[in-house]
């Protein structure tokens, strides 16, 4: 019998991965840092037409693009004269399991079936679990979803409990774990035990599946308004949503559209902390994933991550938990659409952004998700209060304190996203390299990093020297 200790299993990770995703990542390796990203995406992914065909088979995609006229009216009411862009929303909740994650799951599960795997496994506490479970049930495969669910008191985060319920509804086995990064270790053990396919969010399949989202929204926006969106706002966590959407926009020829990432600010909370775990009201789309994955994408569950947010992000906006709850109520009351937290994060950032733009500008929020028990603001705020978090009205910009205080705006004018400069993230990216022992960058490294960060090579060298000197 194989050694099941943490250290032994982690040491076998590459061989387990290779057997479970059917991808030989060594083919694309250039150096420890660099790899041939575009060749990997081309060879392993599918063309946009193939992805569309696969998604049609299981009813994924082709979701409506809806203009939020009442919210636009409200934005104009609180903006300077002539300001207040039109805001549109892509209603991804219309996908089979209720989120855009069906797009990602559809391709991975199709691939698993084609390669002859008997089942699929996904490590996720998010909507992706339900998406994989739903697609697996459509294609007749077994499914296991591994979730980080509860703290050491055995108390589960309501949103994650709901996502687990959805997985079970679609026929998946849900393995619930307590807090800790060793989820990955257990995930590897399960892959080894079952021989199932690793339906990772971060393979080229997982990204190719999202490209149709960007492609569709560009086509829809042109048909409704006669032009491409000026901005597309994407809730950012692991980077796949942003990467896939941006690539889809480019494939549609929407080269001038700016791609904005939006995350809930959870700074100060440690993501692997047992005590902090149930002191947050958002389980994804937050900075606890958004920043680490942007600055070190290859921390994911595959050797080379296909989701590389900094390649595509034009701007990064942070919003607070209280603002997103406020906007969640707003879209229900003003637009008659009750939707889950993820899309409302980008909607909050979009409202803030739209106030600064001229009236003829177009901002598209590119996702929604289903909502209900566990996910609603009432469920999350009740849970926060039970866990000792204070909930009050006020100016979030001045008073927000993740884990301690949730501040709900007193008026729409207090919806104000904070911009996190991309250069700060780029510097962190280089710090991550230094942390991993890199002291010199080869010509190949520089070329790769330049594409990864969208920064000139001389600027990278300058920044890297500074990082090595000052840490």
């Amino acid at each position: 019998m194989k050694d099941r200790s943490y250290r032994a299993v982690m040491a076998r990770r590459n061989e387990i991965m290779k057997a479970s995703v059917g991808i030989d990542y060594d083919r694309y390796r250039i150096t420890d840092i660099a790899f041939d990203y575009e060749r990997m995406m081309e060879e392993i992914g599918y063309t946009l037409e193939e992805v569309e065909k696969i998604q049609r088979e299981t009813g994924v995609g082709n979701t409506p693009l809806i203009e939020l006229k009442n919210i636009t009216k409200l934005i104009r009411h609180i903006s300077a004269p002539g300001k207040g862009a039109r805001v549109f929303l892509k209603d991804e909740a219309a996908n089979p399991s209720g989120s855009f994650k069906d797009r990602r799951a559809s391709i991975s599960v199709h691939k698993a079936k084609e390669l002859g795997y008997k089942g699929v496994i996904a490590a996720t506490s998010g909507n992706y679990g339900a998406a994989v479970a739903s697609q697996a049930s459509k294609r007749g495969l077994k499914c296991i979803v591994v979730q980080e669910t509860f703290d050491s008191r055995g108390i589960g985060q309501p949103e994650i409990l709901e996502k687990g319920r959805a997985c079970e509804a679609y026929g998946a086995e849900v393995v619930q774990l307590s807090v800790g990064p060793e989820l990955f270790y257990y995930f590897l053990l399960l892959l080894e035990e079952t021989g199932f396919f690793n339906a990772s969010l971060y393979t080229p399949y997982g990204i190719a599946g999202v490209e149709t989202l960007g492609y569709e929204l560009s086509k829809q926006c042109r048909s409704i308004t006669g032009k491409d969106p000026d901005y597309v706002v994407v809730t950012h966590a692991g980077g796949g949503n942003l990467t896939g959407t941006a690539r889809g926009l480019r494939k549609a020829g929407a080269h001038d559209t700016k791609v904005v990432g939006a995350s809930v600010n959870l700074s100060g909370l440690h993501m692997a902390s047992d005590k902090d775990f149930n002191r947050k009201s958002f389980t994804t789309g937050h900075t606890g994933f958004g920043i680490p994955f942007a600055v070190y994408p290859d921390r994911s569950d595959v050797p080379r991550n296909a989701a590389r947010a900094l390649r595509y992000m034009d701007k990064y906006l942070l919003v607070s938990q209280g603002e997103v709850f406020y906007v969640t109520e707003m879209i229900a009351r003003r637009e008659g659409m009750q939707r889950g937290p993820a899309g409302n994060t980008s909607l909050t950032a979009a409202i803030s952004l739209a106030r600064e733009l001229p009236e003829d500008a177009i901002v598209v929020v590119q996702e929604t998700e289903y909502t209900g028990a566990g996910k609603l603001p009432s469920a999350q705020l009740s849970f926060a209060i039970e866990n000792g978090v204070e909930v009050l009205r006020g100016d979030p910009l001045a008073l927000d304190k993740p884990g301690k205080r949730i501040v709900i705006p007193e008026k729409p004018e207090q919806i104000r996203a904070r911009e996190l400069p991309l250069d700060k993230l780029r510097k962190s990216y280089l710090k991550e390299l230094a942390k991993r022992g890199h002291r010199e960058l080869t010509a190949e490294d520089l070329e790769f990093i330049s594409a990864d960060l969208r920064l000139r090579e001389d600027k990278i060298m300058e920044m890297f020297k500074e990082v090595l000197k000052n840490g």
Partner: protein, 108 residues
């Protein structure tokens, strides 16, 4: 009435310690290092009969056999819509009033 004993084939939930505190990953923060990594999973009971707290075997829906302590018989979902949250009711009322005033502004 909660059944005290589970019978073979019944839907149950088990738990199991995956890693003891001293076996946890080196990068884990201090508070997490003090507690074990615990796993819960549901499935159909393989044993003839068992009580909560017993070590049992189950078969999961994915067909795996897993051994662990029985913690629940026919477990239910406990998450819900939450309580009445006054602050949300307050916002909702403000949005309705705001809608009225915006509509009036248009009619004038």
């Amino acid at each position: 009435m909660i059944a005290l004993k589970a019978k073979k084939g019944q839907w149950v939930q088990i738990h199991k310690v995956v890693l003891n505190p001293e076996e946890r990953a080196p990068q884990v923060p201090e508070d997490t290092k003090l507690v074990p990594l615990v796993m819960r999973v549901k499935g159909y009971l393989i044993d003839e009969e068992a009580s909560v707290g017993d070590l049992v075997s189950i078969e999961t829906v994915a067909g795996r056999k897993v051994v662990g302590r029985l913690i629940a018989i026919e477990p239910t979902y406990t998450h819900n819509f939450g309580k009445h949250v006054p602050v949300l009711a307050e916002i909702d009322r403000e949005f309705s009033q705001l809608a009225d005033s915006l509509n009036e502004g248009e009619e004038k």
